[in-house]
């Protein structure tokens, strides 16, 4: 009789690791295969940045930051927008993929649900990171000098921010289990999170917006990216935290909460 003895006995950990590796590889292969996606990833935020940036430039005055034009102010926000949009689109596919797609094969393989959540989030993160790094290469056009960027902090902010947003997107996609439902949450939660993150405008000194911004984890990603692009300082730009360390700390907590939400969703609705 045929049995599975042909396969080497494996630990649960190595099965989970295989699952994670497969999911990351799949997202990267798919991303780089589609040239239009790579180009779109670069051109779409560029157009967005140029259009909104130049439209706002004449009216925008940032108190206490002489010489900082709106396009430069807005640029870190667009970097985070690239992350957010990639996270949204990479995880929205989960809805379809889970019922008639490759994820079915992943779910019935020996790997755990945790490895599915982490693998898919990491896969989407690797795409989001690639896209945002490609966009960061255009930073000189916004007045930043590549040599002066605090790269380790920038990378840390992008990795943590992407992972948290991808895990959150996964949790939402798994939970709502319908594209229409996902779109509703995208417009009611994810997009407002970006708009109220300090990406488009700085926080007012007080009021509802200021409070929302402080409790919005995306604010800390924008703030950390802004600080890193300015080489550690942030002229009039970061309203939510005093240091990169604090911002990255908040992002770590955001990652943990988002992954837990993904695990919870997966556990409740297998």
């Amino acid at each position: 009789m045929q049995t599975s003895t042909a396969l080497p006995a494996r630990s649960a950990f190595s099965e989970d690791l295989s699952t994670i590796r497969v999911l990351v590889k799949r997202d990267l292969v798919r991303f780089f295969r589609e040239k239009s996606r790579v180009i779109g990833a670069l051109v779409q935020p560029l157009i967005f940045w140029l259009m909104i940036g130049s439209g706002m430039a004449s009216t925008f005055v940032l108190p206490g930051a002489q010489g900082l034009g709106y396009q430069q102010y807005f640029y870190p926000g667009v970097v985070v927008m690239v992350m957010l949009f990639t996270a949204i689109f990479a995880t929205m596919s989960v809805i379809e993929d889970r019922h008639s797609g490759f994820l079915q094969a992943v779910m019935v393989a020996p790997g755990s649900r945790a490895s599915l959540v982490i693998g898919k989030s990491l896969g989407a993160t690797s795409v989001a990171l690639t896209q945002s790094m490609l966009f960061v290469m255009l930073a000189p056009a916004a007045g930043f000098t590549l040599g002066e960027i605090d790269w380790p902090s920038l990378l840390a902010a992008l990795v943590l921010g992407s992972f948290a947003l991808c895990a959150l997107g996964f949790a939402i996609a798994w939970w709502v289990d319908s594209s229409a439902g996902y779109h509703v949450i995208m417009s009611l939660l994810l997009l407002p999170m970006w708009i109220l993150s300090g990406a488009m405008f700085p926080s007012p000194p007080s009021g509802v917006i200021a409070v929302l911004q402080r409790f919005n984890p995306v604010s800390y990603a924008v703030s950390a990216v802004r600080r890193a692009l300015h080489g550690g300082i942030a002229p009039g730009g970061t309203d939510v935290a005093a240091s990169t360390a604090f911002e990255l700390g908040v992002l770590v907590v955001f990652c943990l909460v988002a992954v837990s939400a993904g695990l919870f969703a997966c556990h409740r609705r297998r």
């Binding site: 009789m1 045929q2 049995t3 599975s4 042909a6 396969l7 080497p8 494996r10 649960a12 190595s14 099965e15 295989s18 699952t19 590796r21 497969v22 590889k25 799949r26 292969v29 798919r30 295969r33 589609e34 019922h99 008639s100 797609g101 490759f102 079915q104 094969a105 992943v106 779910m107 019935v108 393989a109 020996p110 790997g111 755990s112 297998r270």
Partner: protein
């Protein structure tokens, strides 16, 4: 010790004979009972078919076994050992073919198979060798570099089967494996299943709502409304229908059915708009029916040896093609 044997046989020993045993699987969606104490077993090397109409609980059973759904109650035994339904131990031993496609259409055939193999720890040269071997067996070696979206439906199905077998599972589980396939692809799929069963002693559990598909299984578990209502070999099950089956088409099936029952003291039912009756010697009943009923009452009349579809009708009073009302 020998005196204890009968008790043992009804308990653990019997379980040891099965590769897979499912006992009392129950599940509800809200108030709806989708599985009500479903039980069956699969012996090593056996091809077992779960036969039932759409919505009878077959897919739910698959979801439970493959870990996509946690049942409310029930036990699963693998080689006599109790395992969690859909748990890691069970998943390691199964190859699964889904009703819906599970290949990534944008990746190549080889990439799909490599990734699936990697999920089971098969990588590098070992994986390549298996992939080449399996693609060769299904005659698709030359399509390895093509993206899945370029393949025909039948080819995709063959690749799905390869994908499920790469890690050489002890049990191949297939949910409606031939749904949507044309006749040629249907026959190809079954030729492959039968070949694997014969050459490698593969154990297969599949679900179907097609009687002709269930006929090809060694053993059939008939499911209706989440319950096992009969199990046995196709021959054994067919014996539940005595003699021949007559099927009569008429413009007024209900009236005709009543007339036949009255005139011939013969049990008849209306199934799918036709009057269906069993008779030990069908060929003798036909002329009597035609003689006794006024001209025009019968539009068409046919007779056949019992099929599993007739068995299902006999057991439930409904046709296999009907959708069970209680399930989704």
């Amino acid at each position: 010790m020998t005196a204890l044997l009968p008790i043992e046989r009804s308990g653990r020993l019997e379980r040891g004979e099965s590769l897979l045993e499912v006992r009392g699987l129950s599940h509800r969606f809200g108030d709806r009972v989708v599985l009500g104490e479903l039980s069956f077993n699969v012996a090593p090397g056996e091809v077992v078919g779960l036969l039932g109409p759409n919505g009878s609980g077959k897919s739910t059973t698959f979801r439970v076994l493959t870990g996509l759904l946690v049942p409310d109650a029930g036990e699963v035994f693998l080689r006599g050992q109790k395992v969690a339904p859909g748990g890691r131990t069970l998943r390691q031993q199964m190859g699964v073919v889904f009703q819906a496609p599970s290949l990534d259409a944008r990746l190549t055939v080889r990439e799909n198979l490599q990734m699936s193999a990697a999920l089971y720890g098969l990588t590098g040269a070992t994986a390549q060798k298996r992939i080449d071997e399996h693609l060769g067996l299904v005659g698709l070696s030359d399509r390895a570099g093509d993206r899945v979206l370029e393949l025909s439906g039948g080819m995709k199905r063959r690749i799905e089967l390869c994908r499920a077998l790469l890690h050489e599972p002890a049990l191949l589980v297939m949910d409606e494996p031939t749904t949507g396939l044309d006749e040629t692809s249907f026959r190809q799929t079954w030729a492959r299943i039968e070949e694997l069963q014969k050459t490698r002693g593969l154990t297969v559990l599949l679900s179907s709502h097609r009687a002709d598909e269930a006929e090809r299984c060694h053993r059939v578990v008939v499911i209706d409304q989440g319950k096992t209502i009969a199990q046995g070999s196709p021959d054994e099950l067919r014996k539940r229908v005595s003699g021949d089956v007559l099927s009569v088409t008429a413009s007024d099936p209900e009236g005709l059915c009543a007339d036949i029952e009255r005139l011939f003291s013969q049990k008849a039912r209306v199934i799918d708009g036709r009057v269906v009756l069993e008779h030990e010697r069908g060929h003798e009943l036909i002329p009597r029916l035609v003689e006794a009923l006024p001209k025009g009452r019968i539009d068409a009349l046919s007779m056949h040896r019992p099929t599993l579809a007739d068995v299902f009708v006999k057991l439930t009073g409904r046709a296999l093609g009907d959708v069970a009302t209680r399930d989704r």
